[in-house]
Symmetry: C2
Subunit: 216 residues, 2 copies
Amino acid sequence: MAPRRTDELTKDVIVAAATGLLDEGGEAALTFRALTTRLSTGYGAIYHRVANKSDLLAAATDTVVGRVVTGAVPDAPPREALRTVALGLFDAIDEHPWVGAQLSREPWRPALLEVYERIGGLLTALGVPGPSLFDAAGALVNYVLGVAGQNAANARLSAEPDRDAFLGRIAGQWEQLDPERYPFVHRAAAQLRDHDDREQFLAGIDIFLAGIATLR
Amino acid sequence: MAPRRTDELTKDVIVAAATGLLDEGGEAALTFRALTTRLSTGYGAIYHRVANKSDLLAAATDTVVGRVVTGAVPDAPPREALRTVALGLFDAIDEHPWVGAQLSREPWRPALLEVYERIGGLLTALGVPGPSLFDAAGALVNYVLGVAGQNAANARLSAEPDRDAFLGRIAGQWEQLDPERYPFVHRAAAQLRDHDDREQFLAGIDIFLAGIATLR
DNA sequence: CACGACTTTGGATCGACGATCCAAACGTGC
DNA sequence: GCACGTTTGGATCGTCGATCCAAAGTCGTG
């Protein structure tokens, strides 16, 4: 038999390798074959530490989200803290787009629980009355999840030479739509071409916060 | 050779069969093997009309979403019309949860285009000023997409005896969390157990509409 | 130091999937 | 009635997640 590894193959090592594969090649790149190659091991060693592929994806997601959400609270007013946390989530998902898809796919895993807790806490500090808290937190989390999913979808296209080219192509299609039948989309094409995802995300957060303020 | 089909195998027939498989068994149930069985045909006949599996899923999604979005506009005030359209989307996705996952997965396909157009048009009628229109429509659509994804995730669990049992189990886990570390989630457990998805969705829509109203 | 029980590891293997390919069956125009 | 393009069914390929098992290592006990 071939020589075996001497160092211990912990779950952390496997999760780190999986995260690397995901970041480099997207969700499609995470296969057990690629993992065995990268770790110079076999299937048995991996399945000994990891239940299945879902478990592996969830563990990687928990690691990434945990880093963002469990960071120290900046002692800013709740409204600013909320924007900071939301932006932190956006940036993390922008850097690891597969996280966005995973959060939507298995929302009951620990990662989203941390998100809920953090957002719920900040909304409480913001003075949202009790009965509305559940609705408000749900709406905000769902908005973030929606954006996260879009982000993941965009990233899946990065086989494209670059993302701007793809967005430009879509914008071109939108512009060529019949302005009678699609007046809004036709007009929105220009903004699609040169908008900033991050700023638009924040604009959505602000709309939501303005809506929350009316619940008081 | 076995006798061949005499009637024409159109793309519509294939899409209808695919929709049936998806509704009955979720996304995992849509395989080309199951399709050939249901249609009493072979792979060639299907691939002759359909480019690949993504194409098939997109076509099925376009059909479902098109039915909802291209319906006659109820001549209600814009705000009511917006709520009606949003609820129509929610109900369609509730009935066909795989649509929710697909909308997030390939947002550039026609289905979401129709949604954008409809929501953008109603926001214009609502009096949202031009520069904010793009942000407002994006926020609203992303919220809907987030809820849609959650819906799809819930449905994927219906292998569970019933959904209430699963929600109750999650709520039980939430209640057993340390109230010091998870004060919000701990409190939210009770509401999770007996909340109404549809009402919570509408509450979120109202929050966004209230926020959008401040843009005026 | 020896030996057996238990843990960790590597790879062969399985069944299912999406996709490709090809020849048989069909219809249509000449 | 014949030839040619279209439609159809199924064999087949490569890849995937997952299972399984025996070899290799580790450690406690005498």
